[in-house]
Amino acid sequence: MHTGNKHTLTKQGLFSLSIPLIEVFELTKQFGTLHALKGVNFKVMPGEIYGLLGPNGAGKTTTIRAIIGLIEPSSGCAMIEGVDSAKNPVYVKSKIGYVAEKPTLYESLSARDFLEYVSSIRKLDQTSVNRIITKLGQVFEMANFFDAPIATLSTGMKQKVALIASLVHQPSVLLLDEPLSGLDAKTSRIVKDLLSLHAKKGGAILFCTHIMEVAENICTRIGIIYGGKIVAEGTLDQLKNGSKSETLEEVFLKLTNEENEIADKSRLLGEAFFKDETA
């Protein structure tokens, strides 16, 4: 069992590792009769932003939760910096920053209390954590919300708190499940810049989304997951060329067999709303 690799921030502020920061190998997960994952494989190297695209229920969140060590795989493994998440989840969790699709934070705490808690659990140094939080607080314009109970914040503000909490320890790996949901255009842009910076520093990002434009804009490599399997993987151009499509959306719909389904549903919609006309 791995106990951790020598890694992280060098003097130049760059992450230095040549092995995959995220590696998922033949990952399967079964819930009763439901096969949520059927042998998922992919790697994310330092400096990469890997987009995991898939329709609802395809297995994106299950994959991410297996990587964090929140669920035990039925078979296969998920590794962070070469360390198996199922075998050493505490170590893995110390290396990652995670933002859930719907962040479940302690609603009665203020953002300050919450970040204090997170920093305490992560054993962070006061000076360095305050430097990061001050910068991120300014970037995300948190001044008016920093001492308010999280319960009273909007979805977007909660998302910002979750983002800050995922970054306070300067993780080498970011696992983001729809991190832009609820954010306004300006903040979304800032987050995209932030992800690019993280990748430039040599960090790895796993970015789960079903919004094609976002994936097109920021991901260096994309994996399309459908029915618990990665059905295609590559750069944007590779995917477009491979399926002879113009856009990522076309690629996605072709690979997930959803083109015909959409045509059927559009016909049903027409019948529902324009029944008289069609008759």
Binding site: F31, G32, L34, A36, T61, T62, R65, I68, G69, L70, I71, P89, V90, Y91, V92, K93, S94, Y98, A100, E101, P103, T104, L105, Y106, E107, S108, L109, S110, R112, D113, L115, E116, Y117, V118, S119, S120, I121, R122, K123, L124, D125, Q126, V129, N130, I133, T134, G137, Q138, M142, A143, N144, F145, F146, D147, A148, P149, A151, T152, A165
Partner: protein, 542 residues
Amino acid sequence: MKLLEAWRNSRLPYKEVVFRSIAEERGRMWWGGFGKGQLGEDSQNDYELTKKALRIAKWDKSLVSIFCVIAAIVPFTAQFFGSPMIGLTSAISLSLAVTFGFIALYAIQTLSSFVSAESCVLLSTLPINQKDFSLVTLFSFVRSVDYIVIGSILSQLIMVIYYTWSPVAVLIMFVACIVNTVLAVAVSLWFSRIFTKNLSSGGRSKKATVLRLFFILMWGSLLMGVSLLISLPYYIVPSLELTLLGSESITYLLFGLFHPFSAGITVANISSPVVADSIVLIGAASLIVYVIVALFAGKWMIKTVKQISTGTDIKIARVTAKNFSIKPRSPLLGYVIKDLKVSSRNPATAFFFALPVLETVIVSFVTVNFEMMRASTLLVSSFMGGIFVLLMPLALLSAEGTGLEFTKTLPLNINKLVISKTLISTLTYVPIPIVLLIMALMKPLTSPTALLIPFFIILSIASASIFEIQLFLSSVTKGKLAALIHDLKKLIIGIAILLLPLVAYSVLYLVSFSHIFAVFIMGCISVLEIVIAFALLKHNKH
């Protein structure tokens, strides 16, 4: 919208309030099922879990109602249990006081969700006019306490009919019951509103924290008052009646000014006068004043409920942060502080922090009347204090709520979580041995060695807490989530761990007549318990 239709429609927002209060305040539901809602099989469980939560809420309400009815009747039955007199004035007053406490305490459990939750959001999107919408919201609010109110009022009226056979007395009792209910619900609504407002306003004000602490203590006192009234009616009713009869008319008059004594004096003396007419008149006049107060309180409640339904009740004031600095602590201290903050900001769990004060009062109350501090007194006091503390780990787990899903993503060893909650629970017990030690210093002791009993129990409390939390955690990982809700088995194990050294002491003393030997073995058992508990923690992988 017709009243009946509004009543029917109010079921939906009421269910939402009940569900939210259970889901938010009893976080142990979130340990597995809800948190893993996206995982497929667990999302199927969500539906079952929701149905179960609502079923439990119904049972909860029915059981509390039955208990409330019994508590309302008991003061009237003192005569059947050897009391020399019925004491109708005291019985009525006490019965009203008990139901006041019951209704207020139960209402607080659900009203905090009513005040803070968007339970009516779904209705607000439907094409219903504002008047109907407010009516439905009001009814959903009334549903929170319907069984309890109807049950207690009916039982009190039946008792008054039985003892007085006077239509006027029954009518006045009915008015008094309504006044009592309105005041109780108004107090709960006010409390929940202030608490929620206090939390919503944010900021780092010391005043807000002090105010919250004050509320916690107030709530704890209410609970203690109700417990005392329920457990000691046969002692309280006759002595209260004797106090009333034996007092100077001025004292009686003063009693008459306060609710529920004003109602008690008026109703009891209409059928069979035992005091001067002037005093009855004062009682009746006070009752009229309380009717007016209840009318105002009722109007305020309707206004507040309407404001809640339109989302204009609580205004959130934003405080601009002067800086973004934070102060990280060690992981364990960080977790303890988080636990304290989270649970003290939840109205349903906050009152557990009044436990040390309540325990101190109860233990002092038990021991102060004894001329000598006996080992049996120390045993009983230790157990009584400890039994309350055993509720604390469960309350702390409940307070975690959905936030636990986030904690699971942090590099936290599960043992830190267990130790944090064990530390808090054990610390709430610490006042007991200290109070007992102080009491013992003021009184002669049968055996100085016996003073070690409550101190050894600290170890048993810690062991019981560890076992309770571990059992809850292991149940979840085995997927027996449904069994977690209201599962008393864990508590029983906690009680057994607490009782074991106390029983061992008693048995050994009866066999050997040696305090030193009995205390020594008891201490060994307590130490063994804590060693086993820590050994159990070592088995936690992560």
